[in-house]
Symmetry: C2
Subunit: 227 residues, 2 copies
């Protein structure tokens, strides 16, 4: 795809993997966070999750800005925050800054407050993707990439075998843009499930994903639809 | 596996496919139904779902009995009824007739009363598999095969590529028996998710399964866990 301006909201593993992968493909990338100074001062959580400042030093081409400025910058805005705060973060990003934009939602509706396994705080008759679309009707929400771990989102080839990602959304042009971005990451089997209500299905794959992670002893796996 | 006595509860597509496949492998098979006379008199629903009597005539080795007699006969009892009636059917089958048995639950908790897409009448914090185990604590419940269509349950090779089935249950020996039956059907990747509570994950795959069926225009697909 041609170079685009992409805002990635969220500074966790998912946000960092996506931002780095977009930047490697010559997109202009800014990460959105609540308070950039606080984010740069934050400590790490071990070798797998170093301080954000260390990651930022290795990715000087990726800017760090408050949510609203990042969202205003992006032609494509990616919600890579924890599902439990996504609606709050998008409110801070600003509805006007999301209007007309492709809003890629990769979040999951997991509630870890009662420990493992987490429960889902929205499911079955609604989804986080739909909640985000209703909260921001002018945004063109595409749910995708919520069914695999961060490093596989941007590098599925490491599995050594084709696997599948899903896409849900009401706007065909937005889905075409997202398909292009996914294909650039190496995804060769992108299934368009349908409108944004189909995000319910993709979001409800999390419980089995979590149990598979335990049973297999790794998060490095993905679903493939064999047909 | 050595020949076993297997009761299949349910006369729908799933029950018929499983019963025929078990019989082909020289197990002694009886199908359980509410009222055998009514079942034999029942009309069909078109070429894909002929009258039960027509199927029975082609499978004279498979007996048809009331739920309780079939369950009493089986060393392995398979719940192949609609999830909405499964607990009722198992009550009719008789708790004593299920005691100590391997109870294979392939049902799904789908509520079609409001049309498509169906909602789930149990999910997330509970599962049909767990409800069945709680209702029949002496049975050794194994949840499996609820994530693929009937003909693929017993003949996964037709996909031309390995795919995955899941298994959940509290009893290791029961799971070993079920694994053997699944391998006899040609399943080469059987993932043991863990105890019966992990059935929540497998059951919650139904919403995406249904949307995939619509998106792909076929039910002839299966999940594969690529790792």
């Amino acid at each position: 795809m041609g170079a685009m301006r992409i805002a990635v909201l969220g500074t966790g593993m998912v946000g960092k993997h996506l931002a780095a992968a977009f930047a490697r493909r010559d997109h202009e990338v800014r990460i959105g966070t609540r308070d950039p100074e606080e984010t740069m001062a934050r400590g790490g959580h071990g070798p797998e999750d170093p301080p954000f400042a260390a990651w930022a030093a290795e990715h000087p081409e990726v800017g760090l800005e408050p949510f609203a400025r990042a969202a205003a910058f992006g032609e494509v805005v990616v919600n890579a925050t924890s599902g439990s705060v996504s609606l709050d973060v998008l409110r801070l990003a600003g509805d006007d800054n999301l209007a007309g934009k492709v809003l890629v939602d990769v979040s999951n509706a997991l509630d870890f407050s009662q420990g493992f396994p987490p429960t889902m705080f929205v499911k079955d008759t609604d989804s986080l993707g739909e909640q985000i679309q209703r909260a921001h009707p002018r945004a063109r929400v595409v749910k995708t990439l919520n069914t695999l771990t961060a490093h596989l989102m941007v590098n599925p080839q490491v599995l050594g075998e084709e696997s599948t990602v899903f896409m849900s959304g009401d706007d065909a042009a937005a889905k075409a843009t997202v398909r292009g971005l996914l294909e650039d990451f190496g995804h060769t089997d992108v299934i368009d499930l349908g409108d944004i209500s189909t995000a319910r299905g993709a979001e409800m794959m999390m419980p089995v994903w979590l149990r598979l992670m335990q049973a297999l002893g790794t998060s490095s796996f993905n679903f493939k639809i064999v047909r």
